[in-house]
């Protein structure tokens, strides 16, 4: 191992240790809540990044997959008594199947059109959640009983959620890292960079994007299930409305699309802004944090097209095998 690689490993270990140990010293639920949100959104943005960042197919419909996860595990638990540990996988499978169907139908569309089609898809999902009352209870939402129990994935303290969130985040980062360093990742990126050249080099483009879509939507659903278990109450506005799709894309873009750590860095930057503003202003200035989100998004698009992490990486870890 050369010197640079040693340094990178040390930084990585320090980073993981920091996020694993810090919650133990934070006694304030308000800040623990912040950690959970960072992990949830970082993981979700990472899932979006797989198809939209690496694959270059910009999705504005990932709210649907997140919501499918949340509703599937919650409904299975409430109606059938199925443990969320199982229910979350059911949600993931459903999301993956729907994601693949959506991909088969829409991947032939080019950039703008694909974004619009996924936007419509996400909107259909959210309308269904709102109006299929027999299934989802509509706007009234679904409440999970608060009886802490590991088998029901309901933890007595926030710390449980923090570590499960961290686990999900690490899983997404590992999967992304693995994809980036696999044939699938190479082919995805080749396709994004130039479809004709990729095909001329023997890259079976349709297949790789469908796999990426399945992984991306399944992960989104898993995170959605977890988020539902954390909220213990879900309704269309908290788990499936369209703004969720926009927000997840925004985090990933600002952090840096097509990189392993970028989307997480995006969440790491944005969530504290929200928490800080909420603490300082309460609900005095509603929407202010979103104005700031939008402003940062545009500034990054204009002046840091690779995102904040993309830029830092180019400067400090140009050829690192770990920081991607």
């Amino acid at each position: 191992m050369n010197k640079g690689a040693k340094r990178d490993v040390l930084i990585l270990i320090a980073g993981v240790a920091f996020f694993a140990l810090l919650p133990l010293f934070v006694k304030n639920d308000f800040y623990l809540d912040g950690f959970i949100l960072i992990f949830v959104w970082g993981a979700f943005a990472g899932a979006w990044n797989i198809i939209s960042g690496y694959g270059g197919m910009v999705s504005l419909g990932h709210n649907a997959f997140f919501g499918i996860g949340a509703y599937t595990s919650t409904l299975l638990f409430l109606r059938q008594g199925v443990s969320p540990w199982v229910g979350m996988w059911a949600g993931a499978v459903i999301a993956a199947v729907i994601g693949v169907i959506l991909g088969v139908i829409c991947f032939r569309l080019r950039s703008h059109y694909f974004a619009l089609a996924t936007l419509a898809f996400g909107q259909v999902a959210s309308i269904l959640a709102l109006n299929w009352r027999g299934l989802t209870e509509g706007a009234e939402g679904l409440t999970l009983p608060i009886h802490p129990s590991f088998t029901k994935m309901i933890f007595a303290t926030k710390l449980g959620y923090v570590y499960m969130g961290l686990g999900l985040l690490i899983a997404v980062l590992l999967i992304t890292y693995f994809i980036e360093n696999s044939k699938l990742g190479y082919f995805l990126v080749a396709f994004r960079e130039n479809e004709d050249a990729a095909r001329a080099l023997g890259v079976r483009t349709g297949r790789v994007r469908l796999v990426a879509m399945a992984v991306s939507s399944a992960l989104s659903a898993l995170i959605g299930s977890f988020y539902a278990q954390y909220l213990l109450y879900i309704d269309p506005s908290s788990v499936i409305r369209l703004q969720i799709a926009v927000q997840v894309a925004l985090f990933a873009i600002v952090g840096g699309v097509g990189t392993v750590f970028g989307p997480f860095i995006g969440a790491l930057i944005f969530i504290p802004i929200t928490i800080f503003l909420r603490a300082k202003l309460g609900s005095a200035l509603p929407g202010l944090h979103m104005v700031i989100y939008g402003g940062i998004l545009i500034l990054v698009l204009f002046y840091m097209p690779k995102g904040i992490y993309g830029m830092l990486r180019e400067k400090y870890f140009p050829s690192s095998r770990i920081f991607k």
């Binding site: 829409c106 703008h112 619009l116 419509a120 259909v124 309308i127 929407g287 698009l301 204009f302």
Partner: protein
């Protein structure tokens, strides 16, 4: 379904569609000329509704008269938006093309929330309160049909302006210049056309049109910071159905979606009606990307370009 009810639904649908047509034309114009999807289009509509609301509320200016102010105002707003934000995205990577206007929509929506709160605001005009009663037409087997005055005015002005704009694009010299630029910008440049100016103008006109639509809608709809979001989705449907970039297509598709919405609202219930046309929307995108009603949409132009090479 009785024939009276049927006629009533058709008329309501067409009246609704007139508004959709007018508000979508700007969006299709902007896409046709500079290949940018303006995700913030609905937020400009929302601003326009607020402008008319505040002019009515504080200065007692009739919404229909407020157009005199909002037309130049939104033209300038459009120009500035182009110069500050949109110009940088032309030729930029797809992510920037999509998310700069998404960012703009987030900013405008939440600024509205900051300044005006989430309150629902309405303008009610005494002279519009009584509906028009048309009929009965015993010859056609129809009983009385009720027509909402504000909707009728919005439809009438909306369609007239849409047609006027269509004729402007078809027959005026500037209209021809804009169309030429949208088809081949390099050659337009060689003809002495200042592309940047055409883009500025097109964007400003697109926003101006939505400015007018806002004034026509405020007597009908309540305005709140999120109203743009509701309408922009319908506008996307209309624009895609009409063939992206086709003005005539957007007009026909606007009317069509109005009728579909009223009927599905009646038959399936008002909540699920949106789901119907979003499904139609996805189907059209996939199977006929040049639109159902487009004369010649984006896709066809690309084909022509491909052959030209």
């Amino acid at each position: 379904m009785s024939s009276t009810l049927f006629a009533q639904l058709v008329i309501s649908g067409i009246l609704l569609g007139g508004i959709y047509a007018l508000s979508s034309i700007g969006l299709t114009l902007i896409f046709g000329v500079m290949k940018i999807v303006n995700f913030a289009h609905g937020e400009f509509l929302m601003l326009a509704m607020y402008v008319s609301f505040w002019l009515f509320h504080s200065l007692h200016i009739d919404p229909y008269l407020s157009m005199v102010i909002s037309v130049p105002l939104f033209f300038v707003v459009g120009m500035l938006t182009y110069k500050i934000f949109i110009r940088k995205t032309i030729g930029a990577p797809i992510l920037a093309q999509i998310f700069v206007t998404v960012g703009l929509s987030i900013i405008i929506e939440n600024l509205a929330l900051l300044f005006w709160s989430a309150d629902f605001r309405t303008v009610s005009l005494a002279y519009l309160s009584k509906p028009l009663i048309v009929g009965p037409f015993p010859g056609l087997g129809l009983e009385e049909i009720i027509v909402n005055k504000a909707r009728f005015i919005a439809f009438f002005l909306g369609i007239s302006l849409s047609v006027a704009f269509y004729l402007f694009m078809k027959f005026s010299y500037l209209g021809k210049v804009i169309r030429a630029t949208s088809q081949d910008r390099t050659t337009a440049l060689l003809m002495g056309i200042n592309i940047d100016r055409v883009y500025t103008l097109s964007f400003a006109m697109g926003i101006l049109l939505v400015g007018i639509a806002g004034a026509l809608m405020i007597p009908i709809y309540t305005v709140h910071p999120f109203v743009g979001f509701e309408f922009v989705l319908i506008m996307f449907v209309v624009v895609v159905l009409g063939g992206m970039g086709s003005i005539m297509g957007a007009m026909i598709a606007g009317l069509f979606i109005g009728v579909v919405e009223v009927f599905s609202g009646f038959l399936i219930g008002p909540e699920s009606k949106q789901a119907i046309y979003f499904l139609v929307f996805i189907a059209v995108l996939v199977f006929r990307p040049s639109g159902l009603f487009g004369e010649k949409g984006e896709e066809e132009l690309e084909r022509i370009e491909a052959i030209g090479e």
